[in-house]
């Protein structure tokens, strides 16, 4: 991609992916030409490039990209992720997004306050990464590289601790001196004259106590706000700087020029400047302490990574750092040790606790050929395994990456909140100006009385004039209206929610996935392999007269050499019941009918009605039994020995243990549940009735599943599709939320916005509960944040003054503002103890009750 300037217009070259023919060229040219501001477009199929001449004032790269993607192609952009330091509020987010987004070659930018990261999609030939970083620095923020893994975590912790330490020192200075200033100001009142020396109330002493606060701990607000302001951006720091600066300015004037008309020596407000700074810093400090805690889930995951591995090389067992393990290395694991990387067991037997990765509480047995997951805990036995995935490819690394990425993204609800907060600062300053003008020209003359008080302070505003009074209210409005809580409301909850999901083996691919999951109305389950186990098994054995075991044994003998799935199910069923079928003397498959076998002179038949009719075997009452079984969706096979009917063996795909409970829980949550299958309607309905499915989408070919999802969406419903992330990929992609179940360890390959690590349908329920809880938390936080502003602004504006003659002081405004930020962060931290209700009732991985079902065909 490249860009050149031609007389006010610009020329850009876009790399377009997905073009295959001349009509693609025409489509892209047409789509781009339709954009207002695009003057000329030439698309080249051979190079896959589009040359566009346009007016940058009327059309942006993002518009072009959208136009191309709307018709099914893609403008290829690079993605960069870096850390932005110095952000404190939602307006910082908006400022950075604006500064980066305004660059010519930037297609999309997402800045996250909680993770302090920016994700930028850009055309490197038009705008380099260095230019993007420069744009951020120019508006007063810092840029650092994102470091992943443990190193990144250490760096992040180090930075946070540095910030905590910095704010703590500031808090100690401003708190100590501020308290002295407060005591000094109160010296003439109440009981203070008894133990506070009079000199502490001297305004010059107060000046010397307050000045180090304003220019020490308070300096950060002036420096940061000026950095932004000179580039045309405003943030919370500006509100603080204006508030602190104005209070300090008045105090200094009234100290050294008491007759200047600003209220005189009795209205110095040193405590306002001092305590305002102290309370803002208190808020910053508490925020720095609590913000780190919302990313605990990632930290816990990172800690799981084993440090050492025991590898067998040249017949020798050597201990090496886990990151040095290579693919195909043979590793040994002893009881009680963590498994260092992903692999396949080659030797030995053990049970492994996988709860830390899959959320499954019961240890899983592992034998040769089974897959083991790195970072899980070996319990009982020792075994050897071959490494299949190491370093950044292990399941744990993929999970960490996915959770990190999810935390960088922005939910639609957050985009609105950020937009509002971004405009808020300007609005607040405009409001402060309005408040000043109103109280200066109108309010003061109408309502001011010399008995006026500042709320929660002992002194009266007797000597204050119109300017001083209007000025206090104006400064209070600036401080009290600060929307700092708004910036944290959503990202902190999203971080907590995505981390909570990961704890239960539920991975959300982005904040939008969490929000979409919380709004679902219909859940469609794929049948085979999702609702059912995906392999047939023996469900019923009926003997005409006599022993059921003998019926099953005969059937198993006949099918012992069969490769048919139903035959394999019968042999497996017999073995599970302790019967080892003997080898038949002869075996004959009769296509479309069944099988015939000879055993020690006995003739065994196993098959359908046709086979029995052809061999003239009377079935009598077995026919009724067979019909009953078939109505329940099972495949009934008749067994005959030496020309006489012996009984029936019924085989069906069985429901997973948790299917019925999951459907019941989804109903309890008010969701409609549907099942999609290639089975015939009778069979499908038989299964659906056993689990309580509301809607059956039967006889759907695999390639038409996405179409069925679309039909439901056209009814205006928000639809989730639960299925195999690979086979059901098109349907998962079509759904509003695709939920890939039982993904195992190769998470990156999965389609779908939600990935369930283990094969348990209750995780679908748990995922929805986590998503709903997260979005509920977001809404609560936004309510607290905006609710605070809604109540505080009129209060700060002096709405109550005409009735009570009391005004909110700037320092009280600062305390209220800090409390609002803290309430949001603490509310989010409540998520830490959250357990999805379905998991409170049923521990992860626990088999709750068996719910056998049946099927004759597979989807």
């Amino acid at each position: 991609m490249a860009s050149t300037m031609t007389q006010g217009r610009k020329k850009i070259t876009l790399q377009i992916a997905g073009m295959t023919c001349a009509s693609c060229v025409a489509h892209n040219e047409e789509a781009l030409k339709e954009l207002p501001g695009v003057e000329k477009v030439v698309v080249n199929l051979a190079t896959g490039k589009a040359s566009v001449e346009y007016d940058p004032g009327r059309v942006t790269l993002a518009d072009m990209r959208k136009a191309v993607s709307d018709i099914g192609y893609e403008v290829v952009l690079d993605t960069a992720r870096f850390k932005i330091t110095g952000m404190t509020c939602a307006s910082c987010v908006a400022n950075n997004e604006k500064a980066i987004g305004e660059l010519l070659g930037v297609g999309k930018v997402t800045v996250n306050l909680a993770t302090e990261t920016a994700q930028v999609e850009y055309a490197p030939d038009i705008t380099s990464l260095a230019e993007i970083r420069k744009a951020v620095k120019e508006i007063g923020y810092g840029v650092e590289d994102v470091v992943g893994g443990q190193e990144g975590l250490d760096k992040e912790r180090e930075a946070r601790q540095k910030d905590i330490r910095f704010q703590l020192i500031n808090l100690i200075i401003s708190g100590t001196l501020g308290t002295l200033v407060m005591i000094g100001m109160l010296q003439p009142y109440w009981f203070f004259p008894n133990f506070v020396p009079a000199w502490l109330n001297n305004k010059v002493v107060l000046f010397f106590l307050t000045t180090p606060i304003v220019f020490g701990p308070g300096r950060q607000f002036f420096v940061k706000s000026w950095g932004g302001l000179k580039h045309g951006v405003t943030d919370m720091n500006l509100l603080y700087a204006t508030g602190i600066g104005a209070a300090y300015f008045i105090a200094v004037i009234n100290t050294f020029f008491p007759d200047a008309g600003f209220g005189g020596k009795e209205v110095t407000f040193y405590e306002a400047a001092a305590l305002l700074t102290a309370f803002i810093i208190l808020g910053r400090y508490l925020e720095a302490v609590t913000r780190g805690r919302t990313s605990e889930a990632i930290r816990r995951l990172m800690k799981l990574q084993p440090k050492r591995a025991r590898v067998v090389r040249d017949g020798q067992e050597t201990e090496i750092p886990a990151e040095e393990v290579q693919i195909d290395d043979i590793l040994t694991v002893r009881p009680g040790e963590a498994i260092p990387v992903d692999g396949i067991v080659t030797e030995g037997y053990s049970s492994v606790d996988q709860s830390m990765i899959t959320g499954e509480s019961i240890p899983v047995e592992k034998k040769a050929g089974d897959e083991v997951i790195g970072a899980t805990m070996n319990k009982t036995g020792a075994f050897k395994f071959r490494a299949t995935r190491v370093g950044k490819d292990t399941a744990l690394s993929q999970i960490i990456r996915l959770v990190e990425e999810a935390q960088t993204t922005k939910a639609p609800i957050q985009k609105i909140a950020d937009k509002v907060a971004g405009r808020f600062i300007l609005g607040v300053h405009a409001l402060a100006l309005m408040a000043f003008l109103f109280w200066f020209f109108i309010g003061f003359n109408l309502w001011f009385t010399p008995q006026s008080h500042l709320i929660l302070t002992p002194y009266q505003l007797t000597a204050i004039g119109a300017f001083g009074f209007a000025f206090i209210i104006s400064v209070t409005v600036l401080v009290i209206s600060c929307p700092c809580a708004v910036g944290l409301a959503t990202p902190s909850a999203i971080m907590a929610g995505s981390g909570k999901g990961a704890e239960y083996g539920i991975l959300f691919k982005g904040a939008d996935a969490i929000e979409a999951t919380s709004k679902l109305q219909v859940v469609i389950f794929d049948k085979t392999g999702t609702l059912t186990k995906g392999e047939p098994s023996v469900t019923d054995v009926i003997a005409k007269s006599g022993d059921e075991k003998e019926v099953l044994r005969l059937a198993a003998v006949a099918e012992k050499n069969s490769e048919h799935p139903l035959g394999e199910a019968i042999v497996r069923g017999a073995r599970q019941r302790g019967l080892e079928p003997e080898d038949a003397d002869s075996f004959n498959a009769i296509p479309g009918h069944g099988v015939e076998a000879q055993l020690k002179g006995r003739n065994i038949l196993l098959g359908n009605r046709k086979l029995m009719a052809e061999r003239k075997v009377p079935l009598d009452n077995l026919l009724q039994e067979a019909e009953r079984l078939e109505q329940a969706g099972k495949t009934a096979m008749f067994v005959a020995a030496d020309g006489k009917a012996a009984g029936i063996v019924a085989v069906a795909d069985t429901l997973k243990e948790t299917s019925a409970l999951a459907v019941e829980e989804l109903h309890r949550m008010g969701l409609e549940v549907a099942m999609i299958t290639g089975d015939n309607r009778r069979t499908a309905e038989a299964i659906a009735s056993q689990v309580g499915i509301d809607r059956v989408l039967a006889e759907v070919l695999p390639e038409n599943k996405a179409e069925e999802v679309k039909k439901l969406q056209q009814e205006g419903k928000t639809v989730a599709m639960v299925g195999d992330g690979i086979n059901d990929a098109p349907a998962l992609a079509q759904a509003d939320v695709g939920i890939a179940i039982g993904s195992g360890t190769d998470i990156a390959k999965e389609t779908g916005q939600v990935i369930l690590m283990k094969d348990d349908l209750l995780d679908v329920v748990a995922g929805m509960q986590v998503a709903r809880a997260t979005i509920r938390k977001v809404k609560e936080n936004l309510f607290w944040a905006f609710g605070y502003n809604t109540l505080a602004i009129p209060l700060g504006f002096g709405l109550l003054y005409p009735f009570f003659q009391q005004v909110v002081s700037p320092e009280l405004a600062a305390l209220l503002m800090a409390t609002s930020s803290l309430s949001v962060t603490l509310n989010t931290l409540r998520m830490r103890g959250y357990v999805p209700p379905v998991r409170r009732r049923a521990p992860p991985g626990a088999a709750l009750h068996a719910a056998p079902a049946a099927s004759t065909a597979s989807t």
């Binding site: 204006t242 008309g261 000043f436």
Partner: protein, 66 residues
């Protein structure tokens, strides 16, 4: 870039000065002290500048193609 900054500064300072001037004019109708008038005008100028800077700078940037 320098051109943008200067142009923007002229515009927002000009409008803010105008706002402060209007404030002074309005105070002439009342019985305000000189300090109240000047102090008030300074505060109006200051807040107006803060309000206008983030509006004017991007506008000028867009106009001058920065």
């Amino acid at each position: 870039m320098k051109n943008i900054n200067v142009t923007s500064a002229i515009i927002y300072t000009g409008i803010s000065l105008l706002a402060a001037g209007l404030f002074l004019l309005a105070t002439s109708a009342g019985t305000y002290t000189i300090v109240e008038r000047v102090g008030g005008a300074a505060w109006v100028f200051f807040l107006s500048t803060i309000i206008l800077m983030p509006i004017i700078i991007p506008l000028v940037k867009r106009k001058l193609g920065g």
